[in-house]
Symmetry: C2
Subunit: 353 residues, 2 copies
Amino acid sequence: MAQEEKNTTDSALENITVHLEKEQNKITIDDVAEALGVSKTTVSRAISGKGRISEGTRQRVMEYIKRYHYRPNVVAKGLANSKTYNIGWVIPGDSGLTDLPFFQRCMIGVSEVAMAEDYDILISMVFERDISQLKRIVKNRKVDGVIVGRTLVKDEGVSYLKESGMPFVVIGSSMVEDVIQIDNDHINACRELTSILRIKGIKSFALIGGGMNQVVNQTRYQGFELGLQEQGAAVSQSRVYMDCESEQSVEHAVEECIRGKVECIVCTDDKICQYVLNKLAQDGIDIPGQVKVASFYNSAILDNYHPSITSLQYDPKELGTVACKTLFDYISGKEVQRKRLLGYEMILKGSTQ
Amino acid sequence: MAQEEKNTTDSALENITVHLEKEQNKITIDDVAEALGVSKTTVSRAISGKGRISEGTRQRVMEYIKRYHYRPNVVAKGLANSKTYNIGWVIPGDSGLTDLPFFQRCMIGVSEVAMAEDYDILISMVFERDISQLKRIVKNRKVDGVIVGRTLVKDEGVSYLKESGMPFVVIGSSMVEDVIQIDNDHINACRELTSILRIKGIKSFALIGGGMNQVVNQTRYQGFELGLQEQGAAVSQSRVYMDCESEQSVEHAVEECIRGKVECIVCTDDKICQYVLNKLAQDGIDIPGQVKVASFYNSAILDNYHPSITSLQYDPKELGTVACKTLFDYISGKEVQRKRLLGYEMILKGSTQ
DNA sequence: GCAAATTGCGCAATCGGTTGTTCCTTTTAC
DNA sequence: GTAAAAGGAACAACCGATTGCGCAATTTGC
C-alpha cells in the first residue's frame, strides 16, 4: 500500500516541468579591483605571481579573493594566453571488455596529472575508423594537446594529429614516424614469459590473438616469436592464430591446439582468454594438467576462473601519468623522449603450474 | 634475425628526443574581414546568419571561409556570449564491469546530441565520494551543464550541483528534490517480470542485489516488492538479499536460496548474476531445471553462459540522447519535464524456461 | 646628497570573437 | 515625388582576463 502511494506520487511528479531562471552574479577581476581600489593588473599579478607587486597588496588581494570566492574566468584567461586548459583523450568507442577498464584506469593517471596542472579532459570517441570527433576538437582548437589510446597499424587519428600540428602522445606504440609514444615493454614481457615457461619444461606453444591491425597485438606477436626463437631447438613447435575476432575463431584455434597437443596457450588479451577457457571447460580439458594457459592484463573478467590465470600485468595508471606528464613537457617546449617503455609484472598463477 | 634488428633499432630510437616548434599561422576573423574588404561584423553575421546581411556578401564570405579553412575560435566565441560549448559528464571512476559498458553506451548518445549542437564533453570522474573534480569544472565554469550517471541515495555530487546553480540532468533517479531525471521504468519492469514468471507457475522468488546506497538498486527493490505484492497469495514466499558487495555475500545468498528451495533468483545486475551463476555451476545446480535466473542489462559479460540469461534490457544510448537533449532544452530556457521514464525490453531466454 | 637603480602600480592594448547602434542607401507606399 | 520603411554594412563597446610599457616613489651606491 505504501508502495502504491509512492508510485502514484511518482507518476504525478512526472508531469511537473521546470525551467531555468538565470541570475549568475559572477564576480569578475574588475569587481575585485574596484572593491580594493586597485587596478585589475594588480589583481592579476597578485594571483599569478608574475610581475612586480608588493607583498602587502598581494596579501590584501588574496584575502579578498578567498573571502568572496573569486575565481578567474578560465575562458577569458585562455583567450588571453591562447590556451584552452583542456587536453583531449581519444578512446575507441567500441572497445571491448578488456580495453574499457584498462583505459579507464589509464585515465585516472591522466586525470591526476592534468588536474595538477589545472587542466581538464575533453573526450573524443572513435567509432570504427571515424575520427570526426577528434577532428572537431582539433579544428575548433578546444584542446592544447591530445592523448591517444589504442592505436591501429594504420591509424588515421594519429596521421591526422601529426599533420595537424597538434601536440599529442600515444599510449601504446605507433607505426607512424616520429610520434611520441609511451608503451609497456611487450617485447621483453613476451620473451620473459616464453623463457620462464620453457624452463618449466614446456616445449610447444601456441599464441591466440586478436586483430593484427592493432599495434599492441602485432607487438606481442613479435615478442612471442622472438622469445621462441631464443629458446631455439628446445621448442619443438609453435602455432600462431592471430586475427581471432570472434568466439568461433578462438574455439577453432583451441581445437587445433588440442589436436596438436600444444602444451601452453598464450592469449594476447583476457577476452580471448575467456573464450579459450570456456572452450577448454566445455571440452572437459584440465588446466594446467592437459594444457597450460597464460594471458595479458590480469583483468577482472578472469577473476572467477579456477585455476587462476598466469598473466603479464601492466600498470595502466602509470601509463596515463607518464603520458600526460610527457604531453605537458612537450607542450611547454621541453625535450621529451620519443619512445618510452614502461615495465610489466609477471603474475604466475595456477594455470601454468 | 629480422626481429633482432628491429629490436635494436627500437632501442636506439628510444633515446631520440623531440620538441615542439610552434608556428601556428591561425587565421582570424580580422584576417577574413581584411581580405574581403569588409568589417568583421559582416563576417560574423555571415557565419551566424543573425543580423542583416545581403545574400551576395554572405556568399562571398562563406566561399572565402571554405576556401581558406577559416574556423572561428571557440574560446573567443565563448567569451563573447558566455558559453563554454562544453558539457560535463560525471561518471563513477570505480564503476564495475556492468556499469562501464553501460555508461559508455550512454555516452554515445550524449556525444551525438552534443556534437550536433557544437558541444564537446568534459569528463569528470568521481572516486569513492570525492567530487573535487566535479567542483573544479563547475567553479572554473568550464561547462554549461552537466550530465550525471549513477546516483547514490545520498549523492553529494547532485547536492553540490543543485546548490551551485549549474544546470544538470541525472541519468537514473535522484533522491534530491526537484532534479531533472531521465530514467528507465525500473518499477514497471520489475512488476512485469514477476508477473510473467508467476504466470509460468513460479511461486517463490529471491532478489539478490547490490548496494542499497545506489538509487537504481533501491528502485529495483521497490519494483520487485511491488510486483510480488500484486501477485498476492499466489506467491508463497520471497527472499531479499540486498547490499551484496562481495562474491562471498552473493554465494551466501545463493546457498540460502537453494536451501529454501527458491524457484527463481532475480539479480539486480549482471555482475551479481555472474557470481550467482558461478556458484550454481560450482554446486552443480541445473538452470532452469532446479532454479531459474533473471537479471538486468543483458550485458556482454553473461554472453558465455549456457543457458542464456533472461534479462530486462534498457537502451543506454537512448538514455544518453534524451538526457542530453533535455539538458540543452533546459539550458536554453525551455520548460522540461522533471522526471521522464523510458521503456525497457523483456528478453526471455533459456534461464527461465 | 644626488644620480642611478629598483620597486610598485596603472594605463591601455590585446586575445578573437558578438552585438547594439548609427548611418547611408535602396525600396516601398500613396 | 516625397516620406516612411527596410536593407546593408561599419563603428565601437564588450566579454574577462594578460602583459608591455611608462611613470612616480622608494631604495641603493658612492
